[in-house]
């Protein structure tokens, strides 16, 4: 198989280079015509903020990885990139890599489900741009199937593997529903936003945001249909909240021991959960000693994350088994591509002769006799062609003696004059 490709990912390049090389959907659509003209007859581009993979069938034999890398660099003009930042693949290795990406075992966070959607989108853009033909389409189907099978047949995507999601998992062990709960997110930065999004997804009843810069809190609150409370008077309204998630970059504690103590008094024993996902910590860790308070910081949540990551890694052999199964099926299909037309022409050739000959006696015998002869000749042709068809398919599908399959195919075409079907008809 001629497929070749390059990949820049977390194993090969630092985050700043990966981010700089990231192609937006617009840039992908701009890049595809360039690749179509100079490099590939068909292909696809997968580009996320964490990885860029470009694969395809080269138009000419002399085209290699360098040409793909140069085309990409001509488009993005990134300084500091060297050949070591790219992984290069061809043939089986290329297919295996694509399937590993689709199975999410090549992601920075093993089992990251986002990649499934990103792979689909990449292939869809390719199809819509006329950059995907028979081979890429089949590869797309295989990749999607691998993605689905890894989700349903393995536990690769299970368990929280981010701090904010691990915090939600702990909350789920305390509260049965979130719709009647009130949550406060302190800090409207990236981590705070992610935590607020998770809470919103879980159907939190009331979401409040607070931030030292009020406008930031307002923007996030607007985005998530939440409310804003004033950062300065935060301590006075703590008792309203069942859940407090703090994710600021403050140097000192935002919530002192006494703040939480007075909050607990006012809450009359109702359970309260404080998730301190900031470094350095925003809440005095001594609050963990209070009854009715559940306190978790990054270290404790990391225990969940690390354990889940270990569990996901244990699933990799199962995923690899799925990849091998799907690769085998894919290559069976691919290897049979060349002999399928020959088999079809070969069978058509015999069928035509049979039909010609049987037509000659159609009006000379009774209908029931004709039917019998018709069926009998079909059976004869079927039996004659059974082994040649079977052997040709077998030779090509196994891929072990692909050259022999090709030779037999050509020989059959030559012997039965299948390349000139019009002449056959006349004769």
């Amino acid at each position: 198989m001629d497929i070749i490709g390059i990949s820049i990912n977390h194993k090969t390049a630092p985050i700043d280079l990966r981010e700089t090389l990231h192609l937006s959907n617009g840039e992908v659509q701009e890049f595809i015509p360039i690749l179509k003209e100079n490099i590939f007859s068909e292909g696809f581009i997968l580009s996320t903020c964490n990885r860029t993979d470009i694969f395809g069938i080269p138009k000419e034999r002399k085209i290699n990885y360098k040409d793909i890398q140069n085309s990409l660099l001509n488009l993005k003009h990134v300084d500091g990139l060297s050949p070591e930042h790219f992984q290069n693949y061809f043939s089986c290795g290329a297919v295996k890599h694509i399937l590993e990406v689709a199975a999410s075992i090549n992601s920075q966070i093993v089992g990251d489900s986002q990649i499934h959607g990103q792979v689909k989108e990449a292939f869809n853009i390719s199809e819509n741009s006329g950059f995907s033909k028979t081979l890429m389409h089949k590869l797309y189907e295989t990749a999607v199937r691998v993605g689905k099978r890894t989700i349903t047949e393995t536990r690769i995507g299970q368990g929280a593997v981010t701090i904010s999601f691990a915090a939600i998992k702990v909350l789920e062990k305390i509260f049965s529903t979130f719709d009647k709960k009130s949550a406060l997110v302190i800090g409207a930065g990236e981590t705070g936003e992610l935590a607020a999004i998770h809470l919103k997804e879980k159907g939190i009843g009331k979401l409040f945001i607070t931030n030292r810069t009020r406008s930031k809190a307002e923007n996030l609150a607007k985005k998530l249909k939440g409310n804003v409370i004033d950062f300065g008077s935060l301590q006075d309204s703590l008792e309203k909240f069942d859940i407090i998630i703090s994710a600021t970059s403050a140097e000192n504690y935002i919530l002192e021991y006494n703040d939480v103590k007075s909050m607990i008094k006012k809450r009359k024993g109702a359970l309260t959960c404080i998730m301190d996902i900031a470094i350095p910590r925003d809440v005095d860790p001594k609050v963990a000693e209070m009854d009715g308070i559940f306190y978790n910081d990054i270290d404790s949540l990391n225990v969940i994350v690390s354990e889940n990551l270990r569990k996901r890694e244990k699933e990799i052999p199962m995923v690899n088994k799925i990849i091998i199964e799907e690769m085998t099926a894919f290559f069976k299909w691919y290897n049979a591509l060349d002999v399928v037309p020959t088999i079809k022409d070969f069978r058509d050739f015999f069928e035509e002769i049979r039909r010609d000959e049987i037509e000659k006696i159609k009006y000379k015998i009774h209908d029931y006799e004709f039917e019998k002869v018709d069926n009998m000749t079909k059976r004869i042709i079927g039996r004659i062609l059974h082994y040649p068809t079977l052997n040709l398919k077998r030779l090509s599908e196994t891929g072990i003696d692909y050259e022999a399959a090709k030779k037999y195919s050509e020989m059959i075409r030559e012997l039965f004059n299948l390349n000139d079907s019009d002449k056959n008809k006349k004769d």
């Binding site: 062990k173 305390i174 509260f175 024993g269 963990a288 009854d291 009715g292 559940f294 978790n296």
Partner: protein
């Protein structure tokens, strides 16, 4: 015939042990194939228990509510059956091991010490008594289940508090659900005990010439009833919640079991029906 009843009693204990081990193994292993298998085991155990109780009733000629150990067997059945229904209705499967341990312990106590009493007070062949005993037993089984949920609550509470994300954290439902189940079980137990007490007060004075309001069983039941009624009021008012309510539930259960054992062994009164 004697041997049949005895053999059945031992087989019943074996079935409870096997079912409990099944639930215990599933709690730690969390294997999909065990989800329904363990439930089938529980169903078979309960079915065998029914057969055992029926056989015992016909063989001894009276309902198996005469001796303390017969009551323990009925309690084991009531706990197992109530949990079976709870599992079917709520589909919360991680709690079985904590509840079925009670059923197993009650049945073990019953199997190991049970005696066959042939001659019993004729008063026992009476419908009000049957209702009185059955509601009381169901009430006690609900209280046992409530304490199991309370125990699970405390274990999970401690695990989350100390950031231990082990098997308890993974397999048990959340704290709010456990507290809710604990409370519901107490309410059901309280209602059933109330019915048992009302029937008892309405019927016992006319049925027993030596009836006394100072009977140890009546006094202990009233104490238990009063404690639970105070607990329920405080819970409804929001005065005791969470961990404190869980502790209340466990202490209440320990007290009721202690009373049950004391009144059945050391203290005697007109409630003792064995002639």
């Amino acid at each position: 015939m004697f041997k049949v009843t005895q053999i059945m009693s031992y087989w019943l204990l074996v079935l409870y042990i096997v079912t409990f081990i099944g639930y215990l193994y599933d709690f730690f292993a969390d294997k999909k194939y065990l989800y329904n298998t363990k439930r089938v085991f529980l169903f078979v155990t309960l079915l065998f228990h029914v057969i055992y109780l029926v056989e015992r009733t016909f063989f001894l000629g009276h309902l198996p509510i005469v001796t303390q150990y017969e009551i323990f067997s009925l309690l084991a059945f009531a706990i197992g059956f109530t949990y079976f229904l709870l599992e079917l209705l709520s589909d919360i499967r991680g709690t079985g091991v904590f509840i079925l341990i009670f059923a197993l312990l009650f049945q073990m106590k019953s199997t190991l010490f049970i005696q066959d009493v042939y001659v019993v007070n004729s008063i026992l062949n009476n419908y009000p008594l049957g209702t009185h005993v059955i509601t009381a037993i169901l009430g006690f089984s609900a209280i046992s289940i409530s304490s199991a949920y309370a125990l699970m609550y405390l274990l999970l509470y401690k695990n989350i508090k100390t950031n231990k994300f082990n098997i308890i954290f993974k397999r048990l439902p959340n704290l709010e659900i456990l507290e809710q189940m604990n409370f519901y079980a107490i309410i059901i137990g309280f209602i059933l005990l109330t019915i048992a007490i009302i029937i008892g007060f309405a019927w016992l004075p006319s049925a027993f010439p030596d009836f006394s309001y100072w009977d140890p069983k009546i006094i202990s039941t009233m104490i238990v009833w009063l404690i639970y009624s105070v607990g329920i009021i405080l819970k409804l008012r929001g005065s005791i919640t969470g961990k404190r309510f869980a502790k209340f539930s466990i202490y209440g259960f320990i007290l009721s079991i202690l009373f049950l054992l004391l009144t059945g062994t050391i203290l005697s009164g007109f409630h003792n029906f064995v002639n």
